[in-house]
């Protein structure tokens, strides 16, 4: 990680209260991530603009909006968030199809393995971190470029 004090934000969406609670507590105990949870995907989408999310975990089978449509819509709002899908036994095929469609980082089968889940999330965040660092570098370069440009302008001005 490039930033020492950065606290990543994780969004968890599952219509099952017990799943949300269990995941939240798992992360609370094992990590220092900032955890945001929702039971209703539409509510999560409503609030999507409010908090910057680094990684989103969503269930596949949910009433009204399934996990893939949810991720597709969330991607439009926060394209940089890493997307992870939780799938049931029968939804695996759909998940695989979705990998390219919504740019899925990884899918995790229910019932999930805690260690594996934590690892996937950690790796996802690392990728996100690298991207963030890259963005920052680019921004810095942009910045440098701009300042160089202004210096150049100054210089031209001075010599003219």
């Amino acid at each position: 990680m490039t930033e020492d004090n950065y606290r990543p934000t994780i969004l968890i969406v599952d219509d099952e209260e017990m799943v949300v609670t269990s995941l939240r507590n798992l992360f609370r105990l094992q990590t220092d991530y900032h955890i945001v949870t929702y039971n209703l995907p539409e509510k999560a989408l409503e609030d999507a603009g409010k908090v910057m999310v680094d990684l989103v975990i969503t269930d596949y089978l949910m009433p009204r909006i399934d996990g893939i449509s949810f991720l597709a819509r969330f991607k439009e709002i926060q394209p940089h968030a890493v997307r992870v899908l939780l799938t049931g036994y029968a939804d695996k095929e759909n998940a695989i199809k979705a990998i390219n469609h919504v740019g899925l980082y990884q899918y995790i089968e229910k019932p999930w393995d805690n260690e594996a889940l934590l690892m996937v999330v950690k790796n996802g965040l690392e990728k996100r971190g690298l991207l963030r660092a890259l963005e920052k570098k680019i921004a810095e370069l942009d910045q440098a470029h701009t300042s160089l440009k202004s210096i150049q302008t100054e210089l031209i001005k001075a010599f003219m």
Binding site: M18, V19, N25, L29, P63, E93
Partner: protein, 572 residues
């Protein structure tokens, strides 16, 4: 006794009278005539048995009278009565045929005797005549018979002649046939087997000449390797006895050692007090070979057929297996889905609790009681996490328990036999199991009526409910409603499952029950669901009704007799 009639002819009245009186007194019927002419007339009507006549009479004398009379048929005897005692007249009258003559005067005794004798004689003569006629009749008949006999004899002779000729012809024809026949014919002495006669074809088939055959026994011709077949045939022939034919295949050996099979017809007859076997054989070697080939081929075909049948049965059983899997697949998917969440939660919470426990231990080690305030806050958080984990686990366990109970209730593995059951229980369990299909998206309304328990196989009915509920939920795109109503009507319990799904066009009503018919994407449906439902419901003596409107929804009504199917084959 009949009264004899006497006609008295005399030109003298006194004579007529006295004679008449005398004869009447003697018991005769008497008529009198005064002339011969009159007498001839009377004779015709009176038909006297005897006539007494005078000789000398006017007009016609007695002799003439007799002559006239004699011209008539069966003239009565005439006794001449004459006064003139002359030998001459007597002789003349007797010559003319008079029966007697009396010379006047005669006494009555003489008269009566003469009349009696004449009558007797006439009687005898008449009888004689009768006999003679009879004799003649017999003679005639005899002659007729003789004639007939002669004719018969003639005919017979003719026939014999014809017969002999026919016999000769038959013999000739028989010879001709005997030698022309396409079949080998042997005549064999039954006792020794000696060949008595053999036709041309027999010579041709066996390869032996007629001369050789006449010195052989029929058993010399049989194929030595297959004598038991011959023996069997011979015993059959013996059993059949004289006059009965026996048919069968007998292997022969030709002069040059070739094996030929003759289809033989045999019969035993008695000829000149010895038993002779007529044996007629047709060469069927080639036919039998073809037949054997055919039999082999048939057997091969049968074997192939059996194999195909086995394959078919196998694929059928695979289909049955597939049917079971279709029902099971849905069930497994449902159960797996439903168990995933609580199981995942319990798993997570186990780790959480273990971690929390370790953290508390660390905490206790690092911070003896009543230490810093900062740490208290951390401990509180751990405590709340642990509490939540325990609560969640309780919930998760409850959920799993409910699912497992439903599963058991659904499958009713312990009750695979027919029993009285409340269908509501089955419907409830099924709803739990298909919850993942329905979850949030579909509202399920139950309108359970007051229905009796029904005679059924509960696990099978649950399969029906599940297939229907899954179909209903799959027919609903997005949000919708499934309504389940139950009621009793006409001794049947009815379950109506209505959905607000896409509906079914009427022309598909019958098709959707065909095994394999599906409108769902590959991988989503096997198309077996409804066919299984229909079979189960029919096995229960019930039926399924459909009501649907495209774009609005569908209602399937399951109608089950309360007392179950009348009789059922054993469950496979």
């Amino acid at each position: 006794m009949t009264q004899h009639r006497v006609l008295v002819v005399d030109d003298e009245e006194a004579a007529r009278y006295s004679i008449g009186k005398a004869l009447e007194a003697a018991g005769y019927a008497v008529e009198v005539a005064s002339t011969a002419g009159e007498a001839l007339k009377i004779q015709e009507s009176f038909n006297p048995d005897v006539i007494l006549t005078d000789i000398s009479m006017p007009e016609m004398n007695g002799i003439q009278f007799i002559q006239q009379l004699r011209a008539r048929p069966l003239p009565p005897p005439v006794i001449v009565v004459t006064a003139s005692h002359t030998y001459d007249i007597a002789v003349q009258s007797l010559r003319q045929g008079a029966a007697d003559y009396l010379t006047k005067p005669f006494d009555l005794e003489q008269l009566r005797n003469s009349v009696r004798r004449a009558i007797e004689r006439r009687q005898l003569k008449l009888e004689n005549l009768e006999y003679q006629r009879e004799l003649e009749e017999k003679n005639r008949r005899l002659q007729e018979a003789e004639e007939m006999l002669r004719k018969h004899a003639l005919e017979l002779e003719e026939r014999v002649q014809l017969g002999t000729q026919a016999l000769l012809e038959t013999e000739l024809r028989y010879r001709e046939l005997f030698n022309l026949a396409n079949d080998a014919i042997f005549t064999v002495d039954a006792a020794t087997g000696q060949i008595l006669e053999a036709n041309l074809q027999a010579e041709k088939l066996t390869g032996y000449s007629g001369e050789e055959l006449s010195n052989m026994k029929v058993q010399d011709l049989y194929s030595k390797q297959e004598l038991e077949r011959v023996a069997k045939f011979e015993s059959e022939l013996a059993k059949a006895g004289c006059g009965c034919g026996v048919t069968g295949d007998i292997p022969f050996r030709t002069r040059d050692g070739q094996r030929i099979v003759l289809n033989v017809s045999c019969s035993m007859i008695e000829m000149n007090a010895r038993q002779v076997i007529n044996l007629m054989g047709r060469d069927v070697t080639a036919i039998r070979e073809v037949e054997a080939e055919l039999a082999r081929y048939t057997q091969e075909l049968e074997q192939k057929f059996e194999e195909k049948k086995k394959q078919l049965l196998q694929s059928q059983s695979q289909l049955v297996q597939a049917e079971k899997m279709a029902a099971l697949g849905s069930l497994v998917a449902g159960v797996a889905h439903e168990i995933n969440n609580p199981l995942g939660s319990i798993n997570a919470n186990n780790d959480i609790l273990a971690l929390a426990f370790r953290k508390v231990q660390d905490f206790v080690r690092l911070h003896p009681p009543g230490d810093g305030t900062d740490a208290e806050q951390e401990l509180d958080e751990i405590r709340s996490i642990g509490k939540e984990a325990l609560q969640t686990n309780r919930m998760a366990c409850d959920r799993i328990l409910k699912i497992v109970r439903s599963l058991r209730n659904f499958a009713r593995l312990d009750e695979a036999e027919r029993k009285k059951a409340d269908i509501h229980e089955g419907i409830e369990s099924t709803i739990t199991l298909v919850a993942h299909e329905i979850k949030g998206r579909i509202r399920v309304t139950k309108e359970f009526g007051n229905v009796r328990e029904i005679e059924c196989y509960p696990n099978q009915l649950n399969q029906v409910f599940m297939n229907m509920l899954v179909n209903a939920s799959q027919a609903i795109e997005g949000e919708g409603e499934i309504r389940i109503r139950t009621w009793e009507q006409d001794n049947t319990v009815r379950v109506a499952i209505s959905d607000t799904g896409k509906g079914i066009p009427a022309e598909l009503y019958s098709k959707i029950f065909d095994p394999g018919f599906t409108t769902k994407k590959a991988g989503l449906g096997t198309g077996l669901g409804l066919s299984i439902c229909l079979r189960i419901v029919q096995d229960h003596g019930g039926r399924i009704e459909i009501e649907s409107q495209v774009g609005r929804g569908t209602t399937f009504t399951i109608i089950l007799p309360v007392e179950g199917a009348p009789e059922r084959k054993t469950n496979d």
